[in-house]
Point group: C2
Chain length 883, copies 2
């Protein structure tokens, strides 16, 4: 048999959380530091296990223990359990080691029966109060312990009010409440088939058993499954002497925060109600008063509360959320816990606690959730605003926005340019919607997942987006939509919150982003402890500048395909693609060269002092041509209209080329380094543009630029060997032509499984690896991201076939194993190999922690995720230091 | 310094192959067993290494050794090196441990100079012969040692013949040849800048150095790179006393095989020429005579040759190819090696040698190349036929065919049905070409790789195919083609050999496939030693029967999608796809159920006694619909023609559905078990069909049927868990409905990287794994097979970026590593997990060896590859036993 199964509050503390549960440990801790906690004891999680081992029965020895502790409690309080004089009433509360909504919570006033209710009356001289306590107890007991629905009791209560001609509970007479007790007992007899237990010990044993049983109720099991909490922990039970805030004008109850939870300011914050119980506050029938005014009701109480607040904050070294009750002028503390706060307050409090010498910088860093930081970078719904969401989609890109609904991209562009604030509402977005997205305050779509086009583009631009909002039905032809049965027309104002996925009708007040001193300071501390570098994915000088502001230490991924898409370049790019010979292709590339050089010149300059990793052309060439279907449509229209033969033949020409480039599975086709191998002149042009830009900068005296050439989609070492040689050759030529020297750094993206599996061979030719986890996830799972999200991923997530969307959260079991393999093989050959990651996962905290553990050197993410990554990287470092 | 660097032939043997080279070891071996080998010695590969260590110089000590051995040779032969009486002439030949074309081969008659040529004349009394030897030697020396092109010498020789008014070499006078010697020496002086070395030792040292140098000539290095031969081995040099077959009527030369190389019959086979040297035979100026008639020229010689043949065959325990020379009536053996033979002969000889007690069954099994076995299953070009290929494509499907060229599939079908033998010639084939392929003798395409549509279909049907024939230019509109500048019109007869890739103009004689007793017996021995099971991929009862004939032990992959494609089923299948509700879908499936049941009934019956692994539906649904482009075309044509509105709207409907199902990358999209998860009713129907067929068979008394249900494309354990449960449920229902019991076996294909990486979790729900290495190769490399072969794989193979086409030969480094991981993880959880492979690689010998080593239980391949796989599996087992 196990050892000690019951503990006085005086005997425990935080260190016993595993056996006392969170609530029990808190009560013990407060008792230990001398706070006025109503006396009580905790039945441990060990006892819970024993209960289950004993076939859901309380062993006699445990019953005896409990009896002994009740006796002890009687001695401590001078009260009598079930006594007709000064009766001892207790609360019974569950408390698991990890906080778990969904379990039984609380039974109050246990110990009342027909005898002790008289004792209560005698002690309080308040008949109504006494029977009100009694009937409340029977209802709670009936519901929680015996499983009788509340409605059974409330029906009778309603009838009573009707009979007495009153509408409010508090207006019911004492006699009425007394009759109610009898009715309630009848209900218990009828519904549960037992007599309401008179013996207070029976009441207690049944309540304790009910708490233990609730550990395995359905909601609790589901909650544990979802949150991966072990089913073996068990719950503790806290038995505590009742105190009453409703015993008259010198009694009351309240809640206080040790600091302002909105701003973090060090000022007592909270509310109280005199002659009331907690449930009265919740019911909202009376308006609570600000805590700072409590001395008006109970002079001197504010000082007491401040003392408690200081004591608890100093003890827990964090802002506390404290529940208290005052019984006949005496203050009791019933609960304390870390207080919920806004992101802004979290940063301010963390900084203040460090300044006050309460916590270390490391602790401060651990206190901030990375997602909170992300929210700070964007406008938010005013926390003080009362707004009810009408529906919820996926929180695809953080920040809140409000504006007029527009369904048409062209219209969005026009209105946006006129200075209208608009929300672009589309079934989904495509690259064609870019002008509309640029001019919108925010984007709302009815389809798509966390990594759909709209989501990725919006995140990159730091623009709020809610996607995959199932409840939204869009009728593009009718230029309208419905949400929850309500029609929305063009021009109607809505608001969206991309941090929560919420959608609101009308305008909701927003607050501007605040990146104050605390933000900078705490992130600075994060920088001190993190091992991982943090870079940004940026393709333009503007992005590069923003990334620097957010603390990026370089560009980890500069894509070059966007540079091919500018309207001024499309003609040359298409000419290059349509070229039948290498010579024609080179001519077209000669036109592109100075443009590319200018691109690289600007971006290298904007990132001076830091490395800029430039990925050579990656997408399949047909992405730069109109698609086949479009061309076919145009053609048939032209033919129908009887267009001139020469025009038709031109389109036919384009169509033929587009068809020739068409692929069954372009994701797995002629792209990445395969392009570079088959058309060497494309990569040669790009390499030349990079090195000429570098040479120009050096000649202009800007020598601290560090371009790095990244070859995409390598799957065989030989690919990299060949392309590396060609790039080096170009570098050599440029050095000679320009008469300047610069280091040449060449590496590769690791983004297909075979690259991971043969990373040792590849590392022989690479100065760095950068994991392209987007593509690596696609090939490891055999999922095409676009197709998966449209067709089955939603179902997979809904049915928990996959825990997370692997395109948002790195799949550590599969993809992660390949990452680890590649790191091991690569470093085995080349210990100084620099290894980073530049997929979407580079900005996701749990993935960042994995990359830290896997020994990567840096993560690279979109500029708006850089602060998130800095913090997550620091937390990863601190956590592994602890482990 | 190294030890002994030179060996007498008498001192060595096969066991010294590493230092004596192949040729030296053979000469030593023959000397050792008492055959009349002209005496000589071998300078070892160690000496070669020393030569390179000494900066490409022969160390003095080595020179001294060589001198000593020449002295010894003088004693053995009674001849004098460079002597003017009875001079010692030697041949100098290279000989590496592994046979290597591309290295220096032979210098004959070394030792001749102005003095010793007189001695030769004195010994032979043949002036013309002596100077002919001399001028041949100088030319060979000049060419091989000094690098002077043959043409330099031949120009002068031609002039001489002109001057003497003769056309044939042998008609040139002795005096003419004498003058030629002087001219040749002048050429050497002019071209090499040195005097022709008179000193025979100088000649010898230069020749030996030249042999050593040839180890590192360009061709040799390339050859070693391609064949993965170490560059460190070095070559040996053989110095051997010359013998002459051209010393008169009692001299001669010949080649003999110890058995008939075409049939394997035990009869001496070969040819000889009297008064001739080897090069005369090669030159083809005189017709050699059959070896069995040699007694007519030299009575008693046949008996001597037979004795040698028997001795060598008994010694090497294999059919030998022997070169001999007769000098003045005395027989000398110059070389023996394993004789090349036809596949048929290989089997017959192997069986005969076992019957004769010469070799073990295991050795017999090792002697046959698996690809040879494959050839036996198909018609072949008659080995006796003289036919010159006009071009060569890829040998895509073995066997030879001859017929009239047809470019049009419809026409091929018509002519084929009329009994015409035709060859279907297409740029490439698609599923639309199936009727033409069915009716053709063979297929020839100008595009495509070893795994293109034509190749796969043809292999499956056992029909010859040559694909990717670059030299073939097809003009479909003109209904003609050209090869090598020659036009081919419809109806012209061509022949193709799918085993070699050769294409011939006109009809070439073919021989029918022979699977005689030797075939069956040797494969039976293979079955005795192999550990791997061999199953077949078969979707029809006919395929199943053929597979059994070829020795398959079950069906490892029965695809069900082909069953959905029959014309009688298309309507129901499309109805199922177009269904908007589950109910409509179930209605369509109800129509399909009895058809599927009949399919499974037939195939299970045909394979009774063996397991049949049935893969549930795998391809994306849009594969069963007309494609979008086609529908768009139809639609625009209908509109142009003013078709009735209702018809147009029907096609529009189809188009809408097809578009909705369209995917960016169908390979990575909604297919495999993802279909089964999203549309449970499809897999339910299939499972029901399988189990109802099983129940029916059992009720009919055929209880030895073993269906196994295979879930495709699993990437997360949960997928399999869910689908397994559903299939089991259906099985339970059918058992109850039908009142019979049968075991339910459920497993999965392992065909995406994540399945390999999480194979432990997946194995918890699988009774078997079957590697789908086709898809696994696609995802591991990130290659779409169709796109890769069309766009870049050809270039990758050409430039040796990849050694082999990974879709033909398993990529052991990448894909293989995943296979090993999956085996380890899977068996770790479930030691009795049955593991097979059913991709194309299951019939490829080097891949089979890998699967053997990886511990798989079976391979499954197309029926025609089953014998290949049986043999390859046996050889893998024997090789690992040896290792």
């Amino acid at each position: 048999m196990a050892g000690k199964l019951v503990y006085w509050f005086e005997e425990g503390g935080e260190e016993h959380r595993a056996i006392l549960g969170g609530k029990g440990a808190g009560l013990a801790e407060m008792t230990r530091i001398g706070l006025p906690v109503p006396p009580g004891f905790t039945i441990t999680t060990q006892a819970c296990k024993l209960y289950y081992q004993s076939d859901r029965k309380l062993p006699d020895s445990l019953k005896q223990d409990i009896k002994d502790y009740i006796k002890g409690l009687e001695q401590k309080t001078g009260k009598h359990f079930g006594g007709d004089q000064n009766p001892l009433l207790v609360s019974v509360r569950s408390g698991a080691p990890i906080s778990m909504p969904g379990m039984m919570d609380t039974i109050l006033n246990l110990g009342l029966n027909d005898r002790s209710v008289k004792g209560l009356y005698e002690a309080t001289q308040d008949l109504r109060f006494s029977y009100d306590c009694y009937r409340r107890f029977i209802q709670m007991f009936g519901n929680v312990v015996l499983g009788i629905p509340h409605s059974e009791f409330e029906r009778v209560f309603s009838q009573l009010k009707k009979d007495e001609g009153v509408t409010q509970d508090q207006d019911v007479s004492a006699q009425g409440l007394k009759s109610l007790v009898a009715s309630y007992k009848r209900i218990i007899r009828q519904k549960a088939g037992i007599e309401f237990p008179d013996d207070p010990y029976d009441q207690l044993f049944m309540a304790v058993s009910a708490v233990f049983d609730s550990w395995n109720n359905e909601r609790a099991i589901i909650y544990r499954n979802i949150n991966k909490i072990s089913h073996d922990l068990g719950t503790a039970v806290n038995v505590q002497t009742m105190v009453f805030g409703n015993m008259g004008a010198d009694s009351g109850t309240g809640v206080m925060f040790t600091r302002d939870p909105s701003t973090g300011e060090r000022v007592l914050y909270g509310e109280y109600l005199m002659n009331a119980q907690g449930e009265d506050v919740v019911a909202g029938l009376r308006t609570p008063r600000p805590i700072l005014e409590i001395d008006e009701d109970l002079p001197g109480m504010l000082e007491q509360l401040k003392k408690v607040a200081r004591l608890l904050e100093d003890h827990y070294k964090d802002m506390q959320d404290i529940e208290f009750t005052i019984e006949r002028g005496k203050l009791y503390i019933l609960q304390t816990r870390a207080g919920k706060r806004t992101a802004q307050a979290a940063l301010e409090i963390a900084r203040a606690l460090v300044q006050e010498g309460q916590i270390s910088k490391e602790t401060a860093v651990m206190r901030i959730s990375p997602e909170e930081v992300s929210r700070l970078l964007h406008r938010a719904i005013d926390p003080k605003a009362i707004a009810e969401a009408v529906c919820q989609g996926l929180p695809a890109s953080p920040g809140a926005a409000t504006g007029k609904v527009v369904f048409d991209t062209a219209k969005a562009e026009i209105l946006g340019e006129q200075g209208e604030k608009i929300i672009l509402v589309r079934p989904e977005t495509t690259p064609d919607d870019m002008p509309g997205i640029v001019h919108a305050q925010g984007i709302l779509t009815s389809r798509g997942g966390m990594t759909c086009h709209a989501a990725i583009v919006a995140r990159g631009m730091g623009k709020p987006a809610v996607v995959g909002c199932d409840a939204l039905r869009i009728d593009l032809e009718g230029n309208k939509a419905t949400i929850a049965g309500r029609e929305i027309n063009e021009g109607d104002v809505i608001s969206i919150d991309g941090s929560t996925g919420n959608v609101y009708f009308g305008q909701v007040p927003l607050v501007e982003p605040i990146m104050g001193g605390a933000f900078k300071e705490v992130l600075g501390w994060a920088d001190e402890v993190r091992r991982l570098g943090v870079k940004a994915n940026a393709d333009t000088p503007e992005d590069a500048r923003r990334a620097r502001e957010f603390g990026a230490e370089g560009i980890g991924l500069c894509r070059t395909e966007h540079m091919f898409m500018g309207h001024d370049r499309m003609a040359a790019v298409q000419q290059m693609i349509l070229a039948d010979t290498e010579e024609d292709r080179r001519k077209a590339l000669d036109v592109l060269l100075p443009m590319q050089e200018a691109d690289f010149y600007d971006i290298l300059k904007a990132m001076r002092g830091y490395p800029v990793t430039i990925r050579l052309l990656d997408p399949p060439l047909h992405e730069f041509l109109p698609n086949v279907e479009e061309l076919m449509k145009t053609l048939s229209e032209m033919k129908a209209k009887g267009a001139p033969k020469s025009e038709i033949s031109h389109v036919e020409d384009l169509l033929r080329k587009a068809k020739a480039l068409q692929e069954m599975n372009p994701m797995l086709g002629m792209r990445g380094c395969r392009l570079g191998i088959v058309y060497p002149e494309i990569y040669e042009m790009q390499a030349r543009a990079i090195f000429q830009a570098t040479a120009r900068l050096i000649k202009e005296g800007i020598s601290d630029v560090y371009p790095e050439v990244m070859i995409p989609l390598v799957g065989a070492a030989k690919e990299l060997e060949i392309l590396r040689e060609r790039v080096e050759q170009v570098a050599g030529q440029v050095k000679q032509e320009q008469g300047v020297d610069f280091p040449v750094v060449i590496g590769t993206m690791i983004e297909i499984p075979r690259a991971c599996l043969t990373a040792d061979e590849i590392a022989a030719h690479a100065q760095f690896f950068s994991f392209g986890t987007n593509d690596l996830t696609q090939t490891t799972f055999g999922y095409s991201r676009d197709d998966a999200e449209a067709k089955f991923l939603h179902k997979y997530l809904g049915e928990k076939i996959l825990k997370d969307n692997p395109f948002a959260v790195l799949d550590q079991k599969g993809v992660g194993k390949l990452v680890e393999t590649a790191v091991k093989l690569g470093r085995g050959i080349r210990p100084d190999l620099v290894i980073g990651i530049c997929g979407e996962h580079g900005g996701e905290p749990s993935s960042i922690e994995f990359f830290h553990k896997a020994g990567l050197d840096y993560v690279s993410c979109s500029p708006y995720r850089v602060p998130v990554a800095r913090l997550a990287a620091a937390q990863a470092a601190l956590r592994s230091r602890q482990a």
